[in-house]
């Protein structure tokens, strides 16, 4: 399963050791399990991302835990310390236990 993820680091190329902002959009319906389908009138089964693990070169930056109350196609924002250039890896897990990954290259100026 692959889900489109759009990532932006602000500023684009942070200085070494600075605190930068990491924002990312996940294209996901995030169905909470309480909303009815307008066509059939039945409840749409719950399907949402529960955990997001974010790490830089294997070192953990933060973990986000979600309940059913997060919007569809959410944009998450957090801060991180740009200590070294490398790959930032994000591991998403949904409420069915399925997981998918997204990684990108972090460049320093």
């Amino acid at each position: 399963m692959s889900v489109p993820v759009i990532v932006r680091v602000i500023p684009n190329k942070p200085k070494k050791g600075d605190v930068a902002k990491l924002m990312f959009l996940v294209k996901h319906p995030m169905d909470p399990g309480t909303i009815k389908d307008p066509k059939t009138g039945k409840l749409i089964p719950a399907n949402y991302i529960t955990t997001i693990d974010i790490s830089l070169n294997g070192k953990k930056i933060a973990t986000i835990y979600n309940g059913p109350g997060v919007s569809s196609n959410p944009i998450f924002g957090l801060d991180f310390k740009a200590e070294e250039a490398g790959t930032v890896k994000m591991v998403f897990t949904d409420n069915h236990g399925k997981s998918f990954e997204h990684d990108f290259n972090l460049e320093l100026s």
Binding site: V19, I61, Y65, S71
Partner: protein, 162 residues
């Protein structure tokens, strides 16, 4: 300086207030005072239960702290998408996690983030669903186990939980 229009507006307002106040038995001074949102019992019960489940503490243990900043809209047109962010002005080593609660939602515990020293600064932004107008609470759990937070009332015109 008052111009003519404003003068007439003021005049009619004062006249209405003075004539209607004795009839409606409303104190004249309170007519202009903004109405403060009330925490209703149902929402308080829900948030109390949720806080007990998550931290094992009650709402009274959460200290309101100016160092924690919650930004949420005062009026949200669409309950399906309400952008909320929490920021705590503490060294990130002292903070364990940042939580977002909404009193009136079926599950008040919306989302939280666990921070590490690599987080640099305690900041978390997430768009949330809101069922109805309610208090939004941004709460930071410190390393010593104490809770600090910032509360804000958000009015929702169209609910977004089904």
């Amino acid at each position: 300086m008052l111009d003519r229009r404003e003068f007439f507006k003021l005049g009619t307002g004062a006249w209405l207030g003075l004539t209607l106040a004795p009839i409606l038995e409303v104190p004249i001074l309170s007519l202009g005072a903004p109405s403060t949102p009330q925490e209703d019992a149902k929402g308080l019960e829900k948030i109390e239960k949720s806080l007990q489940k998550v931290f094992g503490k009650s709402l009274k243990d959460v200290k309101q702290d100016p160092k924690v900043k919650l930004s949420a809209p005062t009026i949200a047109e669409n309950g399906l998408h309400v952008p909320v962010s929490v920021e705590a002005d503490y060294p990130v080593e002292n903070i364990k996690s940042l939580h977002i609660f909404v009193d009136e939602n079926p599950d008040p515990h919306i989302s939280y983030i666990e921070l590490t020293p690599l987080s640099g600064k305690a900041f978390f932004q997430v768009p949330i669903r809101m069922a109805q107008s309610s208090y939004v609470r941004g709460i930071a759990l410190l390393k010593d186990g104490s809770l600090v937070g910032d509360f804000k009332f958000t009015k929702v015109t169209v609910g977004g939980c089904g």
